[in-house]
């Protein structure tokens, strides 16, 4: 009987297509992406790396507020999003701002989210997403509802949600995947396992050898993917999406990834719990480095192209921060206005009070 655990774990071996040298190690599962699509995926990953570097700098200058660094997770975040369609609904966690941007949230609004302005959370018409979820796990049970709604409406669309390794310990994580399983809801659950929940290593969250195997508790499919490999993440997400819209139920995808930066910019110091050896070990696995090698080998990527993306990103960011600066400041009456469709008595009264204050 002591082999029971081993048997389960064997089923969740890490799925990889590109190795660290950018060589294809799993030809059979190679996703069907055109040359232009491959280049676009690279552009988005490079852009997102620059966005992270600039966001950290802007945060340090006090020009951004809350910011959770993303460097290292580009394959996990961007390649998974690349497998989605416009009609898919995104339920991101607080680190998943890049997916929102590529789903259609204008950059200046992402910056307003960071600063704490409600306009940052106002998705433009047709952008199907919620703003980043701060309560870890809540996005999972909500995704089950969106996915069930899509199934009831007969839509060829999915709800996609993200959490981290620490988030898999929450009750809402289990409830979310379990509900989605019961209803065969159109859901993709992604666990971005970057090894740490703030300072707590992944091994302190659970004795389970993989996080993907937690899908077993819900009776749904689970897969562990090399989260530093854009092609593997894309292939897994694409597969999950196809299954879901066919009515075959939700899937749990664990991406093995790493965040080079701190947990957030709010004073977290990763040198207290992480060694520089560990950092450099993961830098060798960098998703951008290996994808660049892969594309260069195919003659699809040049240094000039990369520099163009970098310059474009920097310019967009400059423009966006300017636009965020110019956006009208919030008023208490805006907050009151956004509470209910029809204001109850107490808020009608307070509205008058604050209108008077604001007109002084």
């Amino acid at each position: 009987m002591k082999h029971v655990l081993n048997k389960v774990e064997k089923k969740f071996k890490m799925f990889q297509i590109l190795n660290e040298e950018g060589k294809v190690v799993e030809k059979d599962d190679m996703p069907d992406l055109s040359d232009e699509e491959l280049k676009e995926l690279m552009r988005r990953m490079v852009y997102t790396r620059i966005l992270d570097q600039r966001s950290i700098a802007l945060n340090r200058q006090g020009r951004l507020g809350f910011y959770a660094p993303t460097a290292g997770q580009e394959a996990s975040q961007i390649a998974s999003h690349f497998a989605l369609e416009k009609e898919d609904f995104l339920l991101p966690a607080y680190r998943d701002v890049p997916q929102l941007i590529w789903h259609g949230l204008p950059l200046y609004q992402a910056f307003l989210f960071s600063r704490g302005h409600f306009h940052g959370n106002q998705m433009p018409e047709g952008v199907r997403a919620l703003s980043p979820q701060i309560i870890i796990g809540a996005q999972y049970i909500q995704a089950a509802g969106v996915g069930l709604g899509m199934r009831l409406r007969g839509k060829d669309a999915v709800a996609v949600t993200y959490t981290g390794d620490g988030g898999t310990s929450q009750g809402d994580f289990y409830e979310g995947i379990n509900f989605a399983g019961v209803y065969d809801a159109n859901c993709i659950f992604i666990v971005q396992n970057n090894g740490f929940a703030i300072s707590v290593p992944r091994e302190m969250q659970t004795k389970a050898k993989t996080l993907a195997q937690k899908a077993v508790a819900a009776g749904i499919e689970g897969i562990q993917v090399d989260g530093m490999d854009p092609l593997a993440v894309y292939a897994a997400t694409k597969h999950a999406r196809e299954r879901a819209i066919k009515g075959e139920g939700p899937m749990l995808i664990e991406t093995i990834t790493y965040r080079y930066g701190p947990h957030t910019m709010a004073g977290d110091d990763p040198t207290r719990y992480r060694t520089s050896e560990l950092d450099s070990e993961w830098e060798k696995k960098d998703p951008i480095v290996r994808f660049r090698k892969f594309l260069e080998e195919k003659g699809l990527w040049t240094l000039e192209e990369e520099n163009q993306v970098i310059e474009q990103a920097k310019e967009d960011i400059r423009e966006a921060i300017k636009k965020a600066d110019q956006y009208p400041k919030q008023k208490v009456t805006d907050f009151i206005e956004n509470m209910f469709e029809e204001l109850p008595l107490n808020l009608q009264e307070q509205m008058e009070e604050y209108k008077a204050k604001e007109s002084k």
């Binding site: 909500q142 969106v146 409830e175 979310g176 509900f179 209910f340 469709e341 008595l345």
Partner: protein, 325 residues
Amino acid sequence: MAQMTMIQAITDALRIELKNDENVLVFGEDVGKNGGVFRATDGLQAEFGEQRVFDTPLAESAINGLAIGLALEGFRPVPEIQFFGFVYETMDSINGQMARMRFRSGNTEHAPITIRSPFGGGVNTPELHADSLEGLIAQQPGVKVVIPSTPYDAKGLLISSIRDNDPVVFLEHMKLYRSFREEVPEGEYTIELGKADVKRKGKDVTIIAYGAMVHSALKAAEQLEKDRINAEVIDLRTVSPIDYETIVESVKKTNRAIVVQEAQRQAGVAANVVAEIQERAILHLEAPVMRVTAPDTIYPFAEAEHLWLPDDKDIIDKVKYVLNY
């Protein structure tokens, strides 16, 4: 018109809304084939199908998470929490999530969700079934809390709650489910949320109550009439937001008031009512506004409910106290 118990009026309201609006979905633990542990959803699955009325796994947090997600897909969810003592499992989905949906999205998303849940004492339920926890939700901006006390109110208020485009917690007192029948109009009608109702006109003292305490207050008022004390009884009906206009109007007439709740003194919403009165009508008061409440202990073991729950005698005593102040 038909004679209905409160539970029948609730079922009737659900049936009307399921018929009126194809986006209405009813779900929760045992609400489908079983028709609910109190039969509130009896026959609804058979009539409207498993896609409209369905059971869920046993997990309150995800029931309301499911409601939020379904709302994002344009549905109008009416989930049930089997007993409101189980609300602790789903406080985040209610107070942390659906209450904030319109606000946090800058009015680009909303949550037209009505959570139905039974509560209330006097029927010897086991632990954490009868607790009055309306005060917890009443403190949360973004949710309305509705507590009917009659079959007529229950139907009109539930239809209004379901049609409301923001979240409503609709609390059903278990003792009132089948305790009496009342004429309830057939077909649809609505009662505006946030409006109190004067259940008995009077001129000497205002008794403000909600839930089962409305009936204790009415019983007390009848007794008081024998002593030539003429009490006005106001049923809050919505405990958040509070209809202080109706209350203040009454207090200006009677100059004396008490607030009656089944919840413990440190819980419920009585303190809010007292505060509104003293801010808005202190110069009309001949006596302090007093509260009739349960003691500040955990909800009692079943055998001792009758010793613990406030009743008409407590109300009579308190009215006499403010009249003789």
